[in-house]
Symmetry: C2
Subunit: 305 residues, 2 copies
C-alpha cells in the first residue's frame, strides 16, 4: 500500500568536518521518500524549479517513487546552505534561497489521493492542512514540523494538528510547542491538541513514542562517526511511514517496530553525504543491522536472581 | 559480598521548583552507599564534622552501611548549596563550604580492606589513588569523577585511571577527558587510559556501556516529574556496584543487568528530595519497576515479517 509524502525537494550545499558538497539532492520529502521507498511505493508531492535535472526524477522513479505530484515551476529550486561542526547535532544555516517554495501549493494527483498513509514533511502548516484535505480518508496522517512554524505560525499549526494522527517532533520542539520543560510531562498536553500518538526524535539519544497512555523508549544506534546529519530526522520519519504502509494492521507492536526501523534507517543516512548511504541499503542489510542493534539494546528478561 | 564506597558525606541545601530544603543529608558516598545497600553490605569511607548528628550514623548503620571508615573531625561537615530550574538536568551552585573535606585523607579500616568491590565517588584523584592502594586486591575498582578534576587535575586523574576497572562518567565528562565530540568515538580512547569498561550516564537519555569491544545502550525510565535531581548519578553508580557485589560472577550479562538496576534506582532517587524515595524502596519494588521498564524498553525479536 502506498504512502504519500508532501514536503520540500531541495539542493543542499553542506560543509561538515568530512568535506564540502555543493547543490546535492536534498529536502525533507526527498529524504523521507527515499527512506519510505525501502518498504512501500511512494507518491512524492513537492515543487522544483527548471534547474532541477531530469536525472533526479529518473532516480526517484527508479526507486518506486512517483514524481507525478512534483510541480515543475519556471523558477529555481529551493536551496539550503549550511554547515555542521563540533557535536554535529546542530545545523548552522548560512543561506536559505526559498525560490519556488514561495509559490508552493501542493496538488495531490488523482493517483495519490487514495494513499493509505500521508506524511507531511516540515513546511507551512496552512499548506499542510490544504494537502490533507485533498486525500480520500487516509488511514493515518503523520506530520513533522519545526521551531519556525511553532514560534511564528502557532495558530495555523494548531488547526492542522487537529487532523493529525501521529506527530513526529524532536524534544526541543515538544518543549516549544507546550511551554513545558519536561518532555514526558509535555506529551499528554500534545495529545490534547489532536495527535493520538507522538514520536519524539532525540538524535544520538534515540526516540520515545507515546500513544496517549503508554511509552516506548529506544536508544539510538551507537555511531563512532557522523559524516553528514542532514536528513536524519526526515529519513527517520520516512522509514517509519514506509514500514507502516507495508504492514497489514497498524498495531502497537507494528508502531514499535516502525520506530526501530526509523532509528536504523536514519543511522544509515548520517554515515554519508546526501542520500549516499540511504540509497545503497537494502531491506536485507536493514535486517542484519537490526540483529546488531538487538545485541546492543535488548533488555534482559529479569534483573532478579 | 561487600562493597567499599569512598567519597563525600555532606549537608545539602537545595531549591527546586518543588520546594526548599536546608542542610539535608547528601554527598556522593551517602547516595551511592544507600543505593548499594539495597543489594549488599557497604563500608562507607568519608569524613564528617562535629556538627554531623548521631541520628545520621544510626540511619546508615541500620541500612547495613558500616560507618567505621567515616572520620569524625572537629570541623564542620562539607556543605553544598544550590538550585535547579528549567530542564532540571543542570545543578546551579550557590555556595560550597568544603570545611572538613580540606583535611580528607581516606583511611580504609581493616574490616573494609577485603571488600570485593571498591567504588571511588567523585573527589580528588590523588586521594582516590591513595584509597585504592589500601585495599587487598579488590575484584573491581569502579570510579566516578567530574569536570573540575578532569580540567584542573588531569595528570593525577590519569595516574588513578590506570588502576581503575570501570569508569562511570557522563557524556560531557567523556568529551572533556578525550577532547573528542563524538562520545562513541571517544570511548576506545578512554579504554587506552586504563579502564576496561566505561559506563556513560546520560540522565534523562539513559546510559551506554562499552567493554572495549561491545556496546550496551538503554533508555532512561520516562519520568513526568523530577522533584530533586541531586544524587541521581551517585545512586546510579551505587545501584550498579551494590548489584555487582551481590552477583556470584561478573559476567557481561550481570554488568548489563547492573546498568539497568542503576538506571531504575536513580529514577527513584529523583522523585523526592534527598534520600526520601531511595530509602523507602525495596528490592521487590525494584523488580516491579523493572517489569514496567521492560514494557517500555523491550526490543521486539524481529522487524521483518
Amino acid at each position: 500500500m502506498t504512502v504519500a509524502i508532501i514536503g520540500t525537494v531541495a539542493f543542499d550545499s553542506i560543509e561538515t568536518p568530512r568535506g564540502v558538497h555543493n547543490r546535492i539532492l536534498g529536502g525533507s520529502a526527498t529524504y523521507a521518500g527515499v527512506a519510505a521507498s525501502l518498504f512501500s511505493p511512494v507518491h512524492l508531492i513537492s515543487i522544483v524549479g527548471s534547474d532541477f535535472p531530469q536525472v533526479h526524477f529518473d532516480y526517484l522513479e527508479k526507486r518506486g517513487i512517483s514524481t507525478d505530484g512534483i510541480i515543475r515551476s519556471s523558477g529555481l529550486t529551493f536551496h539550503w546552505k549550511g554547515f555542521y561542526k563540533g557535536d554535529m547535532s546542530q545545523a548552522h544555516t548560512l543561506q536559505t534561497d526559498l525560490n519556488v517554495l514561495l509559490e508552493f501549493d501542493p496538488k495531490v494527483p488523482a493517483s495519490a489521493a487514495d494513499s493509505r498513509i500521508v506524511f507531511l514533511g516540515n513546511f507551512d502548516p496552512q499548506l499542510q492542512l490544504r494537502a490533507i484535505k485533498q486525500f480520500n480518508r487516509p488511514e493515518l496522517v503523520v506530520m513533522d514540523s519545526m521551531n519556525y512554524w511553532i514560534q511564528d505560525h502557532l495558530s495555523s499549526l494548531r488547526e492542522t494538528l487537529k487532523l493529525v494522527d501521529v506527530l513526529i517532533l524532536n524534544d526541543q520542539e515538544i518543549r516549544l510547542l507546550t511551554g513545558i520543560d519536561n518532555v514526558i510531562q509535555a506529551l499528554p498536553h500534545v495529545v490534547k491538541m489532536g495527535p493520538k500518538r507522538i514520536i519524539v526524535k532525540k538524535g544520538e539519544h534515540g526516540a520515545i513514542m507515546y500513544n496517549g497512555s503508554d511509552f516506548f523508549a529506544v536508544p539510538a544506534m551507537p555511531l563512532d562517526e557522523v559524516v553528514d546529519p542532514t536528513g536524519a530526522g526526515d529519513s527517520f520519519a520516512g522509514g517509519i511511514v514506509g514500514y507502516l504502509a507495508n504492514s497489514p494492521a497498524l498495531t502497537e507492536e507494528v508502531f514499535r517496530k516502525a520506530v526501530i526501523v526509523g532509528t536504523l534507517v536514519s543511522s544509515f543516512t548520517v554515515r554519508d553525504f546526501s542520500l549516499g548511504m540511504l540509497e545503497r541499503i537494502t531491506v536485507d542489510q536493514l535486517n542484519t543491522e537490526f540483529a546488531r542493534y538487538r545485541q546492543i539494546a535488548a533488555i534482559p528478561e529479569t534483573v532478579s536472581r
